[in-house]
Structures are given as C-alpha cells and as structure tokens.
C-alpha cells in the first residue's frame, strides 16, 4: 500500500534476505565440496538437524553460543565421517545412504532432544555484531554489516571457498578426484582420502547451517527445525553449477524472494498468499530454466571409485 517501496521497507527486505541466505550458503558450500569430489550427500538435512540440536544443547548447558558452534562442528564432522564410511569405504549407493543419513539425523536429534531437554526451551543465542565504521554506511550498513557472526562467516566463506577450490593444490585434487578419479589415482592422489576430507568439511558446514537456525535465529529447538532447508541447499548446489559464486547468487535469489514475499504479505498487498509462499521456489526454478547453456557437472559425481576401472 502507501509507501510500499519506501527506502526503509527496501532495507528491511534486503537485510532479512541476507540473514535468510545464511543457512543455505553454509550448507550449499559444504555440499559443493562434497560433490566436487564426486560424492553427493543427500543427508545434508539430517546433518543440519544434528548440528542444530548440538549447537542448541551445548549453548543451553554452558550458556556459550561459541561453544555451541564448536560442538556442532564436531558433530557435523562425525556425521560426514559416517557418510564417508558408508559411501566411500563401503561404496554404498549414495542416494540411498544419504537419505538414510537424513532419517538417522532426524530421528536421533529428535530422540536426544526428548531425552535430554524435552519441551520448548529458550536459549540466549548469538547477538548481532555491528561492524564499526562499516555499519554506519547508509543503506549498505544495515543490510550487510549488522548481523551475527555466522552470517559474516557464511559470506566470507564464498570467496574463501573459491580460493581453496581454484587456487590451492587441495582444491585441484578435489576437482581431479571428482572429474577423473582414475587419473588422479594414477598421479598418487588418494581418491578415498580426498572424498573423506570433503565429506567431513561438508558435514561441518551443514551442521553449522543447522546451528545457525537454533543459536543464530530461533534461539530454541524443535523437532524438524530445518523444515527442508537442507534439500533446498542441495538444489542450490546444482543451481550454482558447483561454483561458490553461483551458490551465492542462488542463495541470495531464493532468500531475497522469500524476504520480499513475506513483506508483501505483511503489508497486505492484494496477492494470494499461496503464490507468495512459493515465490522463492518459482523464481529459482525460472532462473535455472532460462540460464541453462553450459551444463557441467563433476564427471564422477555419484560413482564410487574402484581402482582399475574406468569411471
């Protein structure tokens, strides 16, 4: 209605969008490393739930969100390790084992919550940190520089992941293992080791995404707290064509559309709410559909590595 496009509203939409993009960015960047190494982990959602619970529980017990972050990273690494054990060492079908991990994470996080907490319990989570100087810049300051530490971490991880993937030898190894594992193997790169490392990093980032939901957003825990965000993150890896900047674009597009549709609803603009809530999905799918062209994927994605066979 009146003043809908006022500058204040615009800033709120953008700042909220930046905040909402965080869990997608964290989980999708982690999954990007996993898929770049030739494995897809559909258990991201389950790892997020475990990370969400672990972060929440540690914060509840010790009153320190920072400890919550550390504990959730450890749990995420463990969940990644489980996935690596099943899908890399035992070469299980990745889709099935990922779904298994998802269900395991959902069930276990719910069970642990029931056993050790039970009921709605609030915590004091992370507080926004206004970055000195930068947060005073008109517009941009409010949008970008007044968030909690995990938001900054997620956005800093974008260029960092780019550097790791394209400018370091570890990144080169990851890309080699994901594209031509047999060639990498011949050159003395351990396919198994790289895939283990990527699954562990992916697990840690997924758990961090989950922890962001509990200690950086909701400040509480409830069953199924992720509500499908892990699966959206996996879709965003495809959307972003396995590149950090593509994932940033996809996460922001989705979250900004989400933030925008919430505001459209709140301001009572005459628009069916059913269409509003699917707007983020629609925008993302349309963007994906019209931007096709160079469709590239890690060549060995989803194929367990067997020495002596051609991928």
């Amino acid at each position: 209605m009146e003043g809908f496009m006022s500058i204040d509203i615009f800033i709120i939409i953008l700042a909220t969008g930046v905040r909402l993009a965080t869990p997608f960015l964290l989980a999708a960047l982690g999954e990007m490393f996993v898929q770049r190494s030739g494995v897809y982990n559909l258990g991201v959602e389950g790892i997020m739930m475990m990370g969400a619970f672990a972060g929440f529980f540690a914060t509840l017990q010790q009153g320190s969100p920072l400890l919550g972050i550390i504990v959730s990273l450890a749990i995420g690494a463990l969940m990644g390790l489980i996935m690596a054990f099943v899908s890399v060492t035992f070469k299980a079908e990745q889709g099935i084992s990922g779904i298994g991990l998802y269900m395991f994470g959902w069930g276990l996080s719910g069970l642990l919550f029931r056993l050790y907490v039970g009921g709605v319990t609030s915590i004091d989570g992370l507080k926004p940190i206004a970055i000195p100087m930068l947060s005073d810049i008109p517009l941009i300051g409010q949008v970008l520089f007044n968030h909690n530490v995990l938001v900054y971490t997620a956005f800093l991880l974008v260029p960092l992941s780019g550097i790791v993937l394209y400018k370091t030898s570890w990144g080169l190894n990851i890309r080699a293992v994901g594209n031509k594992p047999e060639a990498a193997d011949t050159l003395g790169v351990s396919v198994v080791k790289i895939r283990y490392q990527c699954l562990i990093v992916g697990g840690m980032l997924a758990a961090l995404a989950g922890a962001f939901l509990t200690i950086g957003q909701a400040n509480m825990y409830a069953d199924n707290i992720t509500a499908g965000r892990g699966f959206i993150a996996i879709a965003l890896v495809y959307f972003g064509r396995w590149s950090p900047w593509g994932i940033l674009l996809g996460s922001l597009l989705f979250s900004m559309a989400d933030s925008f549709q919430s505001m459209v609803q709140v301001l009572g603009i005459n628009f069916p709410y059913e269409l509003a809530v699917i707007l983020p999905y629609m925008v993302t799918i349309i963007a994906l559909a019209i931007s096709y062209g160079r469709v590239w994927a890690p060549a060995a994605l989803g194929k367990p590595f067997e020495r002596g066979t051609r991928g």
């Binding site: 719910g110 039970g118 909701a218 199924n224 919430s262 709140v266 301001l267």
Partner: protein, 339 residues
C-alpha cells in the same frame, strides 16, 4: 589369566543383560492384569506431545481425563510426528487392530484417511478435528477459535501503540482461518483505525520461518502479534527478544516461553470433549456428532498472563469481559468467513 578375567566379565555382562531383559516385560505386562473396564484411547499427533500448542493441549486433556478417571481405568497411547496423513493412516489402522476403542487423529488433515479406515472398524470410535463432517463412528471436534480470537483482537486493538496488529499464520485452512477471522473482527471492534496484517509461512512446523515472519511483522510496524499452530512458538521466541512488543497465544497458554511478552491466551480444554466422547460411547453412540469447543461450555478459556495483568488497563479488561459475556449468552455471534 587375562582371558579368564575377560570371560568372567563377559559372563557377568551377559547375565546383567539377561536380567535386564527379563525384568522389562514383567513390568510392562503387570498393569494389564488389572484390566476391568479399562478404556483404551490412542492419539495420533501431527507434531510432538510437547509442542506448546495444538498437540500438547490435547495431550494435557487426555492426561486430565486419565487422572480424574484413574490411571487403571484409562490407557493412553500416543504416536507423534505423523504430519503426513498416509503415515498417520498406518498408525491409526494399527491402533484399531490392537483394539483401541477411541482413536483421536488430532488434525484436520486426517479426515479422508479416517473415512477410509473407519469403515473397516465399525466398532471403534474415531475422532478428528478441526472438522465438522462425521460418519457413524467418527466424531468431528471443532474449537470455535474465532471466539477467543475475537477477545484477543479487542485486547490487541486497545493495547497496540503502533496501530498495527500482526498475525503469523501457518497455512490458510481450518483452525487458523477461523482464529484469524475472529482476531480481525475483534480488532475492528476494539478500535476502528487499527490495522490487522495477516501473513502465512505456508507450513505448520517451521519455527524458524515463523520467527522470521514475526520479525518482518515487527519491522513493518506491528507491536502486537498472534498466530496459531505448533510453529507459533518460534514467533513467540522472536518477540521475547524484543522490547515493547506483545504476543497473544492460542491453543495453549504459551507464557512460559516469553513470560514478559505473552499478554493473554485462548486455551482449549480438551478434557471435557474427551469425557463427552467416552460418555457417548458408553451410551452406544460411536460417532456421528459434531462437537464444538466454545467459551459458553468452558472448553475455551480466555486467560490473562498474571505476570502482565497490571499492564492491561481496567477499562480494556472490562471491554473484553463484556464481549466475552455477550458471546457466552449468545447475544454476540462471531462470524466465520464465508466460503
């Protein structure tokens, strides 16, 4: 020597394990022997037993019944997290097969699944809600959410400073539609120029989404917010972190989540509904009735948060009380959306 010790420890452990196993079933079967006129009730929930909302209010109702009738007279079995109606169907069928006499499927989404199952178990009583369509052995229960919503709406309109009341809704259906419509009418009645802004998350259990939507509501000007379903706790928590904003809860008293921010609640008392179904069944009525929860029969209670009671001026309380009495006496009928 070492081997001996090890085998001893193993033997001891095995013994422990066996005694552990043996003790358990004995404890579980014991209470069943007292079976006389025991009523066996099963409950299927979309979310959890401790969701501080829709599900928990029903669990507390069943527990109250169990307490008043005696633990040995009422058996209650609960399956939770069955938001998916197909999974819930499997659980409902299993309960019916196991001989549970009354099965509550606590959600409007279970209506069609119950219709299918109830035919195969003509002697079992089924109940679901929010709903109104019944079958010979299906009760539909139907909280008149708009009644408490109306009262909360009046309160909101009179208490808002910004002139904006926000609703964080789940999905535009069933209970939420009735509740929101009641709040809207109450706000309009309470003060003419106060706006009600309704927004939905599109989910019943996305507490993070509900929290974010509440933040958006507040940033756009709402200072009093309400909303139904189990995801609402996320919104309550988000409001609890702010200053000067209030939440109005429905389904249950949610003030324990944010004691300084929950102003008042609409509380459902399921105990009476459950008792009524038990009595009707005893009299031979297995279903077929549409049971409403209303302010008039005490199944809906309007309740202030005692801690914040002094924040509400007496004249506001009086206006709410007048409306409440008018609803109870039937003088005032809170409208439902026409669809």
């Amino acid at each position: 020597m070492k081997k001996k010790v090890l085998s001893l420890i193993l033997a001891a452990l095995t013994m422990l394990a066996f005694t552990g196993c043996a003790a358990k079933p004995a404890a579980e079967t014991a209470p069943q022997k007292t079976d006389g006129e025991k009523i066996r009730i099963a409950l299927v929930l979309p979310a959890t037993v401790d969701d501080m909302a829709w599900g928990q209010s029903m669990v507390e109702g069943l527990k109250a019944v169990q307490k008043s009738m005696g633990e040995d007279k009422v058996e209650v079995a609960i399956s939770e997290k069955l938001g998916n109606a197909v999974d819930a169907g499997a659980a409902i069928r299993q309960y019916a097969t196991q001989g549970y006499e009354i099965i509550f499927a606590h959600g409007s989404q279970y209506q069609s699944v119950l219709n299918d199952i109830a035919k195969d178990f003509p002697k079992t009583t089924f109940a679901y809600g929010t709903g109104f369509a019944t079958q010979p052995n299906i009760f539909a229960y139907d909280p008149q959410a708009q009644e408490g919503g109306y009262l909360l709406g009046i309160l909101a309109a009179k208490m808002t400073k910004s002139g904006v009341v926000g609703i964080v809704g789940p999905v535009e259906s069933g209970d939420a539609v009735k509740y929101n419509y009641g709040v809207q009418q109450g706000v309009a009645k309470g003060k003419a120029d106060v706006q009600t802004r309704i927004a939905y998350t599109g989910s019943f259990n996305d507490i993070v989404g509900a929290g974010n939507l509440a933040k958006t509501q507040m940033s756009a000007g709402a200072d009093i917010i309400t909303g139904s379903s189990q995801q609402a706790v996320g919104a309550v928590r988000a409001i609890g972190e702010t200053k000067g904003n209030y939440w109005l809860s429905t389904d249950m008293d949610q003030s324990s989540i944010a004691p300084d921010h929950v102003l008042a609640s609409q509380v459902y008392h399921w105990e009476k509904v459950v008792n009524k179904i038990i009595d009707l069944r005893k009299q031979g009525t297995l279903g077929g009735q549409h049971l409403t929860l209303t302010l008039a029969d005490g199944t809906i209670e309007f309740k202030y948060n005692e801690k914040l009671a002094d924040k509400v001026p007496a004249e506001v309380k009086a206006a709410v009380e007048t409306a409440k009495q008018e609803i109870i006496s039937g003088k005032l009928k809170v409208e439902l959306p026409k669809k």
